[in-house]
């Protein structure tokens, strides 16, 4: 009966997980790339959501972001091990060169879009985003350098992030 689930299982990529999962940034970027398919993306978000609901309050509150990322990592892993065994010449072989190329191209495109989006920001907003994300400066340090309040720094940062996020919309989460 669950025609949708079966249909999407057939379309799943027949490859082992190529991520090292040492850094969440890579993991998330990878996750989003895999989720270019709207149906898959919705199913995964759905499942992540259900797991969040099942989490005990205490554990979730401790560090909600880390908890969500753990869920995402587990899901991605389960996603791959759930592939039927005959769908893949399973020999623990390294991911194919094709995949690496395809993935790198997608990642490169993603970074290009981010840089474009950054260039379109106002100078102050761009300064805030780069100082915080690239240079690792605190809100206070940025505020001091630019002569604005820490809360203003936060606002610039949120605005810059939305712009970058929307510029990458079809990469990181499909558009409606």
């Amino acid at each position: 009966m669950s025609t949708v689930r079966e249909a999407s299982a057939k379309q799943r990529p027949k490859r082992p997980p190529p991520f090292a999962a040492s850094q969440y940034g890579r993991l998330l970027a990878f996750l989003n790339m895999r989720l270019a398919n709207e149906q898959d993306a919705r199913e995964l978000a759905q499942e992540a959501y259900l797991r969040l609901l099942r989490a005990t309050r205490a554990r979730l509150i401790e560090d909600p972001t880390a908890y969500l990322f753990r869920i995402a990592r587990n899901l991605l892993y389960e996603w791959y091990v759930s592939l039927p065994p005959d769908s893949e010449p399973l020999s623990g072989s390294a991911p194919s060169a094709d995949l690496a190329v395809e993935e790198q191209a997608a990642l490169a495109q993603h970074m290009d879009r981010l840089e474009d989006a950054l260039r379109r920001l106002s100078p102050k907003c761009r300064a805030v985003v780069l100082m915080h994300r690239r240079d690792g400066m605190t809100y206070k340090e940025i505020g001091a350098a630019l002569g604005i309040s820490a809360s203003m720094v936060k606002k610039h940062l949120a605005h810059g992030l939305v712009s970058c996020r929307l510029a990458c919309a079809d990469f990181a989460g499909a558009e409606r």
Binding site: A48, E115, C125, L146, R165, L166
Partner: protein, 347 residues
Amino acid sequence: MSRRRELLAAEAAQWLTALEGADAARREQFAQWLRTSPEHVREFLAAAAVWDSLPGVSAQPSAAALVRLASRSDNVVALEGAHPGAANPKAERLGRWRWGWAAAAAAAALALAAALRLLAPVAAPPTMDYVTEVGEQLSVSLADGSMITLNTRSALRVAYSEARRDVYMGGGEALFEVAEDSARPFRVFADSALIEAVGTRFNVRKRPGEVAVTVLEGAVDVSPGRSGANAAAIQPPPAVRVVADQQARAAEGKVVLVDRDASAVIAWRERRLVFDALPVRDVLAEFDRYQAQPVVIADPAIAALPISGVFRSDDRESFLQFLDQMGIAEHSRRPDGVILLSAMERR
């Protein structure tokens, strides 16, 4: 990019910037936000991916150059301050609208309580309102360890005091997982019905004119309250004890007890809908709870056909395809977006 998505993107970005060194209360707010809907989870993951890949950007000016650029722009770009703020009022408005389920439902709940003479003349305890929109689900952890999960398009008010734990259901459906506390009864008010529990799990679905209570664990007492045939009765009708895998339906001042597979009733938590020989019109009504746009049955002959199966509640399309594949009915989309269901043409 839909409006709703833009708002979500703005909210996700605000959370990402606010989480650094956030205290427990703030983290709890964030967890609550995250648990609003799968779309929230998805948007946050997508935003976090961007956030985490930003450190990798190259070909951008150095920090010193950025300071120069930013300060130079101060004299020229006066409008710039409008940008970051622009997202905020919208998000706030959305928040107010979402959580501000207020006057009507609250008044109804209070009137209800007053009618039942259950509202003691003491200071009203602090209350919390929870509302879900079409397609949303929401889990709420309460201070006593109890947990309430709201299904789509539902509204309820939680009023905890030292003496009791009261919940008023404005509408929709919710699963209650009640932590044991014999000193403080846990009660749910829905229309004129009163549901009383101690340490148990049960599901309440409120429909116009009927309240259905299904027990998964333990037992609850369901009183129909004064309505329907009993509206003028001096003594309210007695409570009916409901145990696991039983369902009590309170309507018109009466409670009817039937056996019911409780796990099928709460399949909505996994976004599944389980139908056992249910007529097409009722199946569609179930789906409509999760969709903004209803399906119109153009052919009355289809409406009564029984359907059995398990479907995803957020995927009405697959049900329509199922009807098509089974040769039961075909659907078409009118220009105004309404989906018409009509009998299969005989070949």
